[in-house]
């Protein structure tokens, strides 16, 4: 078996003294896709933010080992440079900052971190064009400011585009399906599938099962009240769809 890419052990974390994650353990190996499902308020997005190192989200217990390193010790930017990517549920607008310019800055930060030479604008454009083709994205997206005036679907596609360019080892997709119509959902999911390789992994956070029709997970975990209350294979998602979260939550609270 491959060594784990990320190993979360008994992780507890909260915001403003409020405990949200209450002892989560999860191991993800290269080549795997894990789905984290759960009702609203169960701690799904918090898990994404804690892994990415968002300020204000404090780890109060447990450990996270990522690619052999103590993840919690790394700054948010160094986690990114080490290949951890968070696709945001609500991508942020950066008015006036050109999408390509921004993405090249991000790409070069990663290159510098890995002691590789930075790429110039011309070479970068070639890399970007190739990824756009792969994801069937319009070139116009390159000329626009980061997420400024983008529709919900465009923002999500821009997240996947960034993911394609930055080529992370571990991608955490936070409710990438929310706010997408069925066509946009398919495009986004196909993008994710095309980027899948034996040496990278994804944690797909979602509320609904429908995304998992397109991105087929190897494992499904149900998060409720800050804990993983059930894990299983892809069939667990279908079971949840059929029976609802109450089926598990009810059982769990007995």
């Amino acid at each position: 078996m491959n060594p784990p890419l990320i190993e979360i052990k008994n992780l507890s974390a909260g915001i403003n003294g409020k405990q949200i994650l209450k002892g989560i353990s999860l191991t993800v190996r290269p080549g795997e896709v894990h789905a984290i499902m759960g009702p609203n308020g169960s701690g799904k997005s918090t898990l994404g933010y804690v892994l990415a190192g968002r300020k204000g989200y404090d780890v109060t217990g447990g450990s996270v080992t990522y690619d052999g390193k103590d993840l919690i010790e790394l700054s948010p930017e160094n986690r990114a440079r080490e290949g951890l990517f968070l696709a945001f549920q609500y991508p942020v607008e950066i008015p006036g900052v050109n999408n390509t310019y921004f993405l090249r800055a991000a790409y070069n930060e990663q290159r510098k971190h890995r002691k590789l030479e930075e790429v110039d604008a011309v070479d970068f454009l070639a890399i970007v064009r190739q990824k756009m083709k792969l994801l069937e994205l319009p070139e116009a997206m390159l000329k626009r400011a980061v997420n400024e005036g983008f529709s919900g679907g465009e923002k999500k596609r821009n997240e996947i585009f960034q993911m394609a360019v930055l080529d992370p080892k571990l991608a955490v997709l936070d409710e990438t399906d929310s706010g997408l119509d069925i066509d946009a959902l398919r495009i986004v999911a196909e993008g994710v599938n095309k980027l899948k390789r034996p040496d990278n992994a994804a944690i797909v956070i979602t509320h609904y099962q429908r995304l998992l029709n397109y991105i087929v997970p190897d494992f499904v975990h149900v998060l409720w009240n800050g804990q993983i209350i059930k894990s299983g294979g892809k069939e667990l998602a279908l079971e949840l769809e059929e029976k609802g979260y109450d089926w598990l939550i009810g059982k769990n609270s007995k």
Binding site: A52, K55, A80, F85, V92, I94, P95, G96, A105, H113
Partner: protein, 481 residues
């Protein structure tokens, strides 16, 4: 919330890299202001009698005025008797070429990143460098002269083209305009003069670098630019000063005149010493800049990037007299630490079908206070006048302030005036988003601020835009914890 505020505050400390003092011998008059001082300056510069009289008239008028209290600024008023009104780098004779410039002075310009030789050779920018009160070198003069373009120090213009100077001096900013303009008219020592003849498109950017070097002096320069019918000129102005504990006064006047179908584009990157973190020292920048679109179809465009000075008081304006004339004002003003800025523009529509555009971007950090003050006035005869104003403020941290004072006065019913304003903070979510893509917080803030200013930066000539972006970065630079 408090977390993100802390992050932002960590940068707000900035280092001023132009704060060196150059050891140039200078010729300085003792502090104090009287008719004698003015006669002394005038005599020192071998001025004609009409100019001495003009100065004295302004001085007498100035004595009847008191310093304006309406700006949204708090500062200790200047003691005008404690300032020296004339300081010139000591030179033995008139310079024939740059090689004769004092090597110490040359070093100053090298430190500023404007090696005059480099400028001369590579970039094709004609430079007039003004240190303290005197123009020390003007490049490219002969080449420009072949096309009939006059580009020289103000003093030389007075000597060689008195008829032009006398005709236009004070015609846009009369000595009666305001307190600082009156003071400038009385004591101005040098500056730049530029005349573009009919139908000539100036083949290069003209540029003046101003530097206040001597201690306890004020700098009072005057710039006069005349673009005759169908002419075009793009003019750049940059400024720096050493770090000194006392406040130094800079009260300049700039007058632009555009004849029929002429165009003047005036760009400023102002980086006077802003004072230290606690507000000690720094330049008081009280400047009157105004352009007259005298002829039909003329256009004047002001672009300014104001990052320096302890106090900035400045309203580059356009009088749109000619029919179909256009005025533009693009501004970025950054106040950090204890800096204060009260800046904006006036667009006075007099002719028919006149158009004006105002884009103002204010950035406040530290305890900086940033006010936009703008007037749009449409006179009775200005049929179909149009104005669009957009004032955006960006706040970094929670101890700074942004203020907007728009004045709109419309006397013609066919006019259309639009005003948009917004205030935003750099969000913790924006910084986290960029962090998550591998960009550290300081670079993230710079990126967000530069994005905010984009509409203004794209109006600047290429190399100036690059300089302006760097300058914003430096002004917000500091340690990230």
């Amino acid at each position: 919330m408090s977390e993100s505020t802390n992050t932002i505050e960590e940068f707000v400390a900035s280092d001023y890299k132009y704060g060196f003092v150059t050891n140039i011998e200078s010729d300085t008059v003792p502090p104090g202001l009287s008719e004698d001082t003015i006669r002394f300056i005038s005599a020192k510069k071998n001025e004609p009698a009409w100019l001495t009289e003009w100065r004295l008239k302004a001085f007498r008028y100035w004595q009847t005025l008191s310093e304006p209290k309406w700006p949204n600024l708090t500062y200790t008023q200047t003691d005008y008797q404690a300032i020296s009104y004339y300081s010139a780098p000591k030179q033995k004779k008139t310079l024939n070429s740059l090689d004769e410039v004092d090597p110490e002075l040359r070093k100053t310009f090298d430190k500023l990143g404007i090696s005059l030789n480099e400028q001369k050779r590579l970039s094709g920018v004609a430079v007039d460098a003004v240190v303290d009160s005197v123009s020390v070198a003007t490049t490219f003069k002969t080449e420009l002269a072949k096309q009939g373009i006059i580009f020289s120090s103000f003093s030389e213009a007075v000597a060689h083209h008195p008829e032009l100077v006398q005709k236009y001096l004070g015609s846009v900013v009369p000595h009666t305009d305001n307190f600082y303009a009156a003071l400038n008219a009385a004591v101005f020592t040098d500056g730049s003069f530029c005349y573009i003849p009919k139908g000539v498109r100036c083949p290069m950017e003209l540029s003046t670098y101003f530097r206040i070097e001597a201690a306890n002096t004020g700098q009072f320069e005057r710039t006069l630019i005349v673009a005759d019918e169908g002419a075009y000129v793009s003019y750049l102005e940059g400024c720096t000063a050493p770090m000194r504990d006392e406040n130094q006064l800079h009260a300049a006047v700039v007058e632009l005149i555009a004849m029929e179908s002429a165009q003047i584009k005036y760009s400023t990157v102002q980086n006077w010493y802003p004072g230290d973190k606690d507000g000690k020292g720094g330049i008081y920048n009280f400047v009157t800049k105004r352009g007259l679109c005298k002829g039909a179809n003329s256009k004047i465009s002001w672009t300014q990037v104001e990052t320096g000075s302890a106090i900035t008081w400045k309203y580059p304006s356009c009088i749109l007299l000619g029919d179909n004339s256009q005025g533009e004002f693009y501004s970025v003003a950054l106040t950090n630490n204890c800096q204060q800025a009260d800046t904006g523009t006036k667009m006075i529509h007099i002719g028919k079908n006149t158009r004006s555009t105002i884009i103002s971007k204010g950035i406040s950090a530290g305890r900086g206070q940033n006010s936009y003050r703008g007037q749009v006035k449409v006179m009775k005869g200005a049929t179909n006048a149009r104005n669009f104003s957009q004032c955006d403020s960006l706040l970094l941290g929670d101890k700074c302030g942004a203020h907007t004072f728009p004045y709109i006065d419309v006397q013609n019913p066919t006019a259309q005036v639009e005003h948009e304003a917004s205030t935003s903070k750099i969000g913790e979510d924006q910084i986290f988003y960029l962090n998550q893509r591998g960009i550290e917080t300081q670079d993230a803030v710079n990126m967000i601020v530069n994005g905010f200013c984009k509409e203004v930066f794209r109006e600047l000539p290429m190399e100036f835009a690059v300089e302006a972006q760097k300058l914003l970065g430096v002004s917000l630079d500091g340690s990230v914890g």
